[in-house]
């Protein structure tokens, strides 16, 4: 599985846009990029998944450049409730009921 690198922590203020970048230089052709959000003492929650270009849902946007060696999770107008750990995962979602490989994630702290 492709290894991912993301910042350990980020700080922001309410109402700002937050962009978290993840590097995955060894991403394979069949790999998708998936982001999970985790609050303290809760299980991770799926945010968004994409393969290339841009994906948007009601929660976030995911930007993936043409070479797919990195991706950026964009959270518009964050609030205090967006304070959490965000994980970037890379892998083939179809092949063999894949196990998810989590790194240490990015700890986002949103201040008032």
């Amino acid at each position: 599985l492709a290894k991912t690198t993301q910042p350990i922590s980020m700080d922001s203020y309410e109402g700002q846009e937050v962009n978290i970048t993840c590097s995955h230089n060894n991403i394979a052709t069949n790999d998708y990029i998936t982001w999970y959000q985790q609050f303290p003492s809760q299980g991770p929650r799926f945010i968004i998944q994409g393969y290339k270009t841009k994906v948007t849902n009601e929660v976030a946007s995911l930007f993936i450049p043409a070479d797919r060696k990195s991706s950026t999770l964009s959270l518009p107008r964050v609030s205090l409730s967006d304070t959490a750990v965000y994980y970037c995962l890379v892998g083939d979602p179809v092949a063999g009921r894949r196990a998810l490989t989590f790194g240490s994630g990015t700890r986002l702290q949103v201040q008032p």
Binding site: N30, Y32, T34, S41, Q42, G43, P44, R45, F46, Q49, Y51, V85, Y87, P93, V94, G96, R97, A99, L100, T101, F102, G103, S104, G105
Partner: protein
């Protein structure tokens, strides 16, 4: 529709004891995976069950074992508990409707069981 449910939510055990954690997957899901999350770290894959058999296993010793029942629920058993087994144990369920190229799947996690070994 209930999501993934885990029991108990908290548990305190003594070194050397054995523990059983339980998980009920989201309705319609047939695959259950277990993860261990130590404080300040990301979840680490323990093993995965579907069709009542262990299909994949992470880098965990044989003290960690599991079971999946016909109704897709699952148990995680840990024998001879060590202090280092203290962690949040997460269960995730998913399903795979097809092996169609490009299919997008996501895993649904439960709230976890906080195990403390003293």
């Amino acid at each position: 529709d209930a999501g993934v449910t885990q029991s108990p939510t908290h548990l305190i055990k003594t070194r050397g004891q054995q523990v059983t954690l339980r998980c009920s997957p989201k309705s319609g899901h047939d695959t259950v995976s277990w993860y261990q999350q130590a404080l300040g770290q990301g979840p680490q894959f323990i093993f995965q069950y579907y069709e009542e058999e262990e299909r994949q296993r992470g880098n965990f010793p044989d003290r960690f074992s599991g079971h999946q029942f016909p109704n897709y629920s699952s148990e995680l058993n840990v024998n001879a508990l060590l202090l280092g087994d203290s962690a949040l144990y997460l269960c995730a369920s998913s399903f795979f409707p097809s092996l169609r190229q490009g299919a997008s799947t996501e895993a649904f996690f439960g709230q976890g069981t906080r195990l403390t070994v003293v």
